[in-house]
């Protein structure tokens, strides 16, 4: 099977999964014990039965479930996730603006994570079972074990609040959003703190994976061949070994996109970052189930597609894969 056939097959397999995801999303919300109509209306309107009935009809809540699902799916396929009464805006446009904020955050976390994790993982593998390896191992587990929201609070405590007391001005803002048009410095001071917190756990996982994968690869005979060829040790490690070691690491990175999205929900809240996680949280709090539904479906789709991309990348990185 050629790589492109593999890509097509793998993409087609996505369709049933996404259908399942949409069905589950739909059912979670529709089977919720709380009445979506009552929840979305202000209390005085919810008390008036005619308003409630009108809205129920409008939302087709009186139809059988499969009809409701079909209508909903049809709308979703047209990128129409409905209307958010709590935010007075179309869910699609809410998702659009907040997804961009989360994308920037995830991008920086990803970069920070990879920059820290891959070199440390390689060093840890080369210095296997020395004190360097042990320290990085415990540090990595520390990174996985830290509650991100608490680290975020501690970061604000030290670099914003204490810093202000000590030096008269905070090093980082205690939260909020900035764009590049606010100036690069302002932008980075806003985005780097949440990105660092998100990147820590991500880095820890990628680092562990890099290490164990690298340890395995370093015992391979082709590494010995490279040395026998007179390849410089740096190239033996960073080209011959790492290129192979990264194959499973990339898979883990794909799965950890979910980790980044999980973290985003909490970290965005701490730093008041107007991303998709915070939007989801706000919508859950205000029982805005239509919005919740749209966001969950969107996040799950991004997650599933990201895993597809990683799988295809895997096929590109490992020439053997497409023939299996």
């Amino acid at each position: 099977m050629s790589t492109s056939n593999y890509a097509i097959k793998r993409t087609l397999l996505l369709v049933p999964v996404l259908l399942g995801v949409s069905l589950v999303t739909f059912l979670f919300i529709r089977l919720s014990p709380s009445d979506p109509v009552v929840a979305m209306l202000p209390p005085e309107a919810a008390a008036q039965q005619n308003i409630v009935n009108e809205l129920r009809r409008e939302m087709r809540l009186n139809e059988p479930l499969y009809i409701q699902y079909t209508y909903w799916l049809w709308d979703v396929l047209h990128l129409d996730f409905g209307y958010s009464y709590s935010q007075s805006a179309r869910v699609t446009s809410l998702i659009k603006s907040s997804a961009w904020a989360t994308a920037q955050l995830s991008f920086f976390s990803f970069i920070i994570g990879v920059i820290v994790a891959v070199p440390t993982g390689v060093i840890s593998a080369v210095k296997k079972d020395t004190w360097v390896d042990n320290v990085t191992r415990v540090a990595a587990f520390g990174g996985i074990s830290l509650p991100g929201f608490w680290v975020a609070i501690m970061m604000i405590l030290v670099f914003a609040l204490f810093w202000q007391n000590w030096f008269g001005a905070p090093l980082i803002p205690s939260g909020g959003y900035a764009t590049l048009s606010d100036g690069l410095g302002t932008y980075l001071r806003h985005i780097l703190p949440p990105a660092t917190v998100l990147g820590t756990g991500f880095a820890a996982l990628v680092m562990r994976m890099t290490r164990s994968s690298m340890v395995e690869v370093l015992q391979e005979e082709y590494v010995r061949t490279a040395r026998a060829k007179g390849v410089k040790e740096k190239s033996v490690l960073m080209i011959h070994a790492l290129r192979n070691a990264l194959i499973p690491v990339v898979t883990v990175m794909g799965m950890q996109i979910g980790f980044l999205l999980n973290g985003a929900v909490v970290i965005e809240q701490v730093f008041q970052w107007p991303g998709i996680g915070r939007l989801l949280y706000m919508s859950v709090l205000s029982q805005d189930l239509v919005t919740v539904q749209g966001i969950v479906l969107f996040i799950a789709t991004v997650f599933v597609v990201a895993n597809l991309v990683v799988d295809l990348l895997y096929a590109y990185l490992d020439p053997r894969i497409s023939y299996e």
Partner: protein, 333 residues
């Protein structure tokens, strides 16, 4: 894998218990230093949680500012209140110790639920195979398609103020019969336990399925099939006990993850509700009183970190011991 169930019938109960203990001691001795230290940390936290009233003179809800000294509101650490007091004059250390109860209970019960669902689904999928396997694993694939916390927040949000018990009364009765937890049945903590358990069941299912598939190939299973034992008995008595080591290792990591998860949910106000003390809520409440009352947020965070780190390091040590093949799987998730 040292779990041996085949030759144990002939021995007395005392012998069996004795050999189990000796086996556990042997396992402990083979763990590396960090896992051994972690074992004692986990043990200490568990004992403290269980014996909370013996460890601290105060009750978790006791407002010292009212019962003792009005100055004890947001008071910094002193020998009597080693981690200070909070806005209501409650002793932070006391609430930390009682908070360990909710953390460990959520961790263990959620993993119990995940294991019940996961082992059942995974072993049926692996042992029966065919379309049953396909359908179970596709459902698991769909559940895994949602980032865990996103799914959990949605579920907790969808449940709203209802608890799972109104939907699943059997589960409620079961939980109500447990110590400590029994009094929590009307609290959202039940939803948290259930949701975390559900969200992480696919991971257990996947590991179980893989192990069952592997074990089914072993000769003793074939031998058992030839003796005419029923398939259910073969699965429960022969295959499952020999497939459990990686599942147990995975479960240790999941307890750590579940504790972290509960803290996040509670921090967001979607988890454990007052009056049950929990680390996540403490951090969330204390956050507004930074930087002056730093102790209110700092100590609960450290408690989460130490507990979760110890569980993860213990899990890592157990994995080296029981499941070295999976060392490249990347650890907890």
């Amino acid at each position: 894998m040292a779990i041996d169930t085949k030759h144990s019938e002939n021995r007395s109960v005392v012998d069996q218990v004795g050999s189990r203990v000796r086996w556990l001691v042997a396992v402990y001795r083979r763990l590396d230093l960090s896992a051994q230290v972690s074992f004692w940390i986990v043990a200490a936290i568990s004992v403290a949680a269980a014996a909370a009233p013996l460890i601290t003179p105060y009750a978790p809800g006791e407002q010292l500012a009212i019962t003792a000294d009005p100055a004890l509101k947001l008071h910094p650490p002193t020998p009597a209140n080693p981690m200070g007091t909070d806005l209501y004059g409650r002793d932070v250390f006391t609430r930390l110790v009682y908070g360990a109860r909710s953390s460990l209970a959520v961790g263990l019960l959620a993993v119990g639920i995940a294991a019940t669902i996961g082992i059942t689904a995974g072993s049926i999928a692996g042992y029966v195979g065919g379309w049953v396997d396909e359908s179970i694993m596709r459902v698991m694939d769909i559940l895994i398609s949602f980032p865990a916390l996103v799914l959990a927040i949605t579920l907790v949000g969808a449940l709203g103020s209802e608890t799972v018990i109104t939907i699943l009364p059997v589960l409620g009765e079961l939980l109500a019969s447990l110590p400590v937890v029994g009094s929590w049945t009307s609290n959202n903590i039940i939803n948290v336990i259930f949701v975390i358990g559900l969200v992480y069941s696919p991971q257990i299912a996947r590991v179980t399925r893989g192990e069952v598939l592997r074990t089914s190939e072993e000769e003793f299973v074939e031998a058992a099939e030839n003796t005419g034992l029923s398939r259910v008995r073969i699965l429960v008595q022969h295959i499952l006990p020999n497939s459990m080591a990686p599942v147990l290792v995975q479960s240790t990591f999941l307890v750590a993850t579940a504790i972290l998860f509960e803290a996040s949910l509670s921090y967001l106000g979607l988890g454990v509700q007052p009056p049950i003390p929990t680390w996540g809520v403490m951090i969330s409440n204390g956050q507004g009183y930074l930087p002056d009352s730093w102790w209110w947020t700092t100590f609960p965070g450290l408690a989460i970190m130490v507990t979760v780190l110890a569980l993860n390091l213990l899990g890592d040590g157990l994995r080296d011991e029981f499941d070295p093949r999976s060392a490249t799987d990347g650890g907890p998730n």
